[in-house]
């Protein structure tokens, strides 16, 4: 058994002991999550080390039910008194809670077991070997590349490198016991250039992966960060108008993230989503296919089983623009008289709610450059700011920066404008999807174009 497997076993044993003690203390249902992790994070700035941080941590989360009264507790204090308090507090709080007819553990028949779990290749032992010196060198190399790329890069918010590993176990009184592990590495470069009028332009680029070998070269990350920073120099407002808007893949991912929040079962039964009662109807243009796929190897949101122990499955959420399903855990499925889609996520603090895993808007066939070339006049968005979204109505309005598109080419940089359109309309107006999907993030989209939106500027 490898070291990480032993760590998983030890966490399962810890979880099992907490579950047994909670049952002995009077709980009818007990579910314990145990976690351990460690990370190394370094930051450099102007060619010098700025921060070296290294630590390990452990935690326990517990959810109990007394009948259908629910409570959850969390502690980072794994001492005997700490564990006792975790269990006593959970029982006390469950007594305070009121009976919820929909609460309950999943049917034991639905629980998965080890033989069913896919190997998702999310753990890279090599990552844990990276020393602080090596990490500093990777960050320094990224920052140096940004400075070398263009003399207009005159300052830096720094560059950082992080590696992390985590092992989690889940044990439930319904009979589930399992553990999973993962690693993660990232490099971020954040250069600054001087702009007119004493303003500065800060840009960044990053790479992240489960395996060290998949991490983009720091030099390439630094150069791209510099390219993005320089491109924004001299950005101006545009006049207020209606025009086609292209969301680059970073901005597009952010739009998909808003949709993600509205398709979760919790938002549906709470009626706090504009997608209530919309399964089977058109919610996007027919160019749009969206899947939630927890089974992608080496992907950031992959999981072999969900937060309640159900087997993970690939869910088609939108096909040809038609909404096929919400993403549900056991509770939200019961509220909606449907079946769980294996989408439960358990927070370290013990709470369970539905979540996306790897939510992906499927790529189209044209390249990003072709998509831009096919746009006579428009706004190409590379960054968005602010929180202007109302999930209940779908109303969307956010600050945006990017470039004017003129005759199929990226032209003058643009900032300090807002773009607005109801999300329902926005997704229906998608009239082109590019093929530039990448797998850096758990919510991922290629570049797409919306035929018309309101831009507010000067």
């Amino acid at each position: 058994m490898s070291k990480v497997e032993e760590e998983g076993e030890a966490l399962v044993d810890l979880g099992r002991s907490v579950v047994e003690r909670a049952l002995a203390a009077g709980a009818d249902v007990a579910e314990a999550g145990a976690h351990s992790g460690s990370h190394l994070s370094v930051k450099v700035r102007m060619g010098e080390p700025e921060l070296v941080e290294e630590a390990g941590s452990r935690a326990l989360g517990l959810r109990v039910m007394l009948g259908q009264r629910v409570a959850s507790t969390y502690t980072s204090d794994l001492s005997e008194p700490g564990q006792r308090m975790l269990i006593e507090d959970a029982i006390e709080l469950a007594r305070l809670s009121e009976s919820d007819e929909f609460a309950g553990a999943p049917d034991p028949a639905e629980l998965s077991s080890q033989s069913q779990w896919a190997d998702l290749d999310t753990f890279d032992e090599a990552l844990s070997q990276i020393s602080a010196d090596e990490a500093l060198e990777r960050a320094l190399c990224g920052e140096r590349a940004a400075f070398d790329f263009d003399p207009r890069i005159t300052n830096s918010e720094g560059a950082s490198f992080t590696r992390a590993r985590g092992v989690s176990a889940l044990v439930t009184s319904g009979g589930f016991a399992g553990s999973e592990c993962g690693t993660y590495a990232s490099v971020v470069v954040n250069p600054v250039a001087d702009d007119e009028g004493g303003k500065k332009r800060s840009g960044y680029h990053w790479s992240a992966s489960r395996h060290y070998e998949d991490l983009e070269d720091s030099r390439a990350v630094g150069e791209e960060a510099a390219r993005r920073t320089i491109a924004q120099l001299g950005a101006k407002k545009l006049p207020t108008q209606e025009l086609p808007v292209i969301f680059d893949k970073d901005a597009a991912r952010s739009i998909l993230g808003l949709f993600a929040g509205c398709v979760l079962g919790g938002a549906i039964w709470r009626k706090s989503s504009y997608l209530v009662d919309r399964v089977g109807s058109s919610v996007a243009s027919d160019l749009v296919d969206i899947v939630d796929d927890p089974l992608l190897p080496r992907a950031p949101g992959s999981r072999a089983f969900d937060g309640e122990g159900l087997l993970s499955r690939r869910n088609v959420v939108v096909a040809g623009g038609v909404l096929k399903t919400y993403l549900m855990d056991t509770y939200s499925a019961r509220k909606l008289a449907l079946k769980s889609t294996g989408s439960a996520s358990r927070s370290p603090a013990g709470g369970v709610s539905p979540s996306t895993s790897n939510l992906i808007l499927r790529p189209g066939s044209q390249s990003r450059d072709e998509l831009v070339a096919n746009t006579k006049h428009g706004f190409y968005v590379t960054g968005m700011m602010g929180f202007g979204f109302n999930g209940v109505t779908g109303d969307f309005s956010r600050g945006a920066s990017g470039f004017l598109v003129q005759d199929g080419k990226l032209a003058a940089p643009v900032s300090e404008v807002t773009i607005s359109l109801n999300l329902d309309q926005l997704l229906r107006r998608i009239d082109a999807v590019a093929d530039d999907l990448d797998q850096r993030t758990a919510i991922a989209s290629p570049t797409f174009r919306v035929s018309s939106m309101t831009l507010a500027g000067s």
């Binding site: 700035r45 010098e48 700025e50 070296v52 941080e53 630590a55 452990r58 629910v70 409570a71 959850s72 507790t73 969390y74 502690t75 980072s76 794994l78 975790l86 507090d89 006390e92 709080l93 469950a94 305070l96 809670s97 009121e98 009976s99 919820d100 602080a132 830096s156 918010e157 600054v192 303003k199 500065k200 332009r201 800060s202 207020t240 209606e242 709470r270 009626k271 706090s272 603090a349 709470g351 700011m385 602010g386 929180f387 202007g388 979204f389 209940v392 109505t393 109303d395 309005s397 956010r398 600050g399 900032s415 300090e416 404008v417 807002t418 773009i419 607005s420 309101t454 507010a456 000067s458």
Partner: protein
């Protein structure tokens, strides 16, 4: 009354930390030649109660504790933490943090002495020590009031959260400081439906106080605010798009100050010269009407603290005085750089994070104008009443805010409610465009949480009625289009 939850490292705790233990750890931390070291012991307990569909649907509690060790050598920081207070674990954290300063001469730490002042938290009984039934009753009252107020209310959920954070800081300058920071917050969210139209409304507040908060702001009052907001939104019209005058309501609008100028005045960005306020002390950076302060000493406010997370005693920092930039918010690192003393802005999310310059309660002080005159002076504009949140790009001061409640101003009168309003602009430009300031200064009791480099801390804001000439309003309705 003895609190139920108390830190193991406190006096008479199971792992009491005294000057001797602190000194031994500081000595290990500086053993590789660091210039400065500090120890940050933290014990925090939080609880939350969710009232939904007319029942207390879930209750939660969390305990988190540990020690963060920081070692500084020049501009470099070594940081490590551990989650138990056994000497071995703490020693290992100190040794890990010490690595940043390989080589050099060991420095002998000084003796440590406790510092402190009068408490800014008016708490008779900490909320965590009050029976859960009392909190359930508060949530029930809010739920009942919201449902009773209008038949169009189709959903209500209310929540209450409480926490206490006990900290002990010891540093190699011989300073020792302790604080116990209580915090509560209440929130209610409603959905109203009329025909096919569904809209939400919310209200909430809290601070560093106990349940006496509700003597002043009752659960029923918050319920009424939330319901009125949702009902107003049922009738709201699409917001205009383009540049126009904007009037900001007192209190909550202070969030605009927080984003538009506050962040740019945090000393780390100025040390690195990445803020657009860098090297501008003494210059006019705002309309002469504007005086901006950051004040940690407000009684019971969410952003108030007795000591900061580096053991300094914060007071009131004047940032901008009559439009002239006076100073930055400093932590130890930046204060060393600027050759000044830290002024109590070193804050961190938890023992898992190193401190940075942060805001506490950021406020634009009141002016001379009557709020009525301010509104009367606007022909066509927007009245911003409640804010959802905002974001700023420090490097150039560009910001965006979302309104959760806003109105059209037509010919000097507040008229139709608007939906989907964003305000976008540039911090320094907006501050220069402040043309009128009300005499109605107010501190918001809203639940503001500030995020920076992944670390969240509770903050407070405050301001009077403010008129800003010409700001970009990001709606959907293009004028004349």
């Amino acid at each position: 009354m003895k609190a139920r939850y108390h830190a193991p490292f406190a006096e008479r705790g199971t792992n009491a930390v005294d000057a001797d233990i602190a000194n031994r750890l500081l000595k290990i931390a500086l053993d590789k030649g660091g210039d400065y070291a500090d120890l940050f012991f933290e014990y925090s307990v939080s609880g939350s109660y969710a009232y939904d569909e007319q029942i207390l649907k879930s209750a939660r509690r969390a305990v988190s504790m540990g020690l963060g060790v920081r070692v500084m050598k020049g501009d470099a920081t070594g940081y490590a933490y551990c989650e138990d207070f056994s000497f071995d674990a703490m020693k290992q954290a100190a040794e890990t943090a010490a690595q940043i300063a390989a080589g050099g001469q060991p420095v002998a730490p000084l003796g440590v002495s406790m510092r402190g002042g009068p408490s800014r938290y008016p708490v008779s009984i900490e909320s965590l020590d009050v029976d859960g039934e009392a909190k359930k009753a508060i949530l029930e009252r809010a739920d009942r009031a919201a449902r009773a107020s209008d038949p169009r209310v189709v959903r209500v959920d209310a929540s209450f959260a409480e926490s206490v954070r006990e900290i002990l800081i010891a540093n190699s300058l011989g300073q020792l400081a302790h604080d116990r920071q209580p915090l509560i917050r209440f929130g209610i969210h409603v959905i109203a439906e009329d025909g096919g139209n569904r809209q939400s409304g919310s209200s909430g507040g809290g601070g560093r106080m106990g349940l006496e908060y509700f003597d002043d702001k009752t659960p029923e009052w918050h319920a009424e605010q939330a319901v009125q907001q949702a009902l107003l939104m049922l009738d709201a019209r699409e917001a205009p798009a383009g540049e126009m005058d904007v009037v900001l309501a007192p209190g909550d609008s202070g969030i605009l100050l927080h984003e538009a100028v506050g962040h740019g005045l945090e000393a780390d960005f100025n040390r690195k010269k990445t803020s657009n306020y860098s090297e501008r002390i003494g210059e006019e950076v705002a309309s002469p009407l504007c005086t901006v302060v950051d004040d940690a000493s407000l009684r019971g406010s969410r952003g108030s603290i007795n000591v900061d997370d580096e053991g300094q005693l914060p007071t009131r920092s004047v940032l901008i005085e009559h439009g002239v930039l006076r100073g930055y918010m400093q932590d130890r690192h930046s204060a060393d750089f600027f050759g000044t003393t830290p002024n109590g802005h070193g804050r961190r999310q938890s023992f898992r994070s190193h401190p940075m310059p942060r805001m506490t309660n950021t406020m634009l002080l009141g002016g001379q104008d009557s709020p009525e005159d301010i509104i009367r002076s606007v022909r066509h504009g927007v009245y911003a009443k409640k804010f959802g949140g905002g974001q700023v790009d420090i490097s150039n001061g560009n910001f965006v805010f979302s309104l959760t409640e806003g109105y059209l101003i037509e010919d000097g009168r507040v008229t139709a409610p608007l939906k989907g309003v964003n305000l976008i602009g540039n911090g320094p430009e907006a501050m220069r465009n402040v043309v009128m300031l009300g005499h109605d200064f107010e501190v918001s009791d809203g639940i503001w949480t500030c995020g920076k480099e992944g670390q969240s801390v509770p903050v407070g804001v405050g301001c009077p009625t403010i008129k800003i000439a010409s700001m970009t309003v990001g709606g959907t309705q293009v004028a004349g289009g």
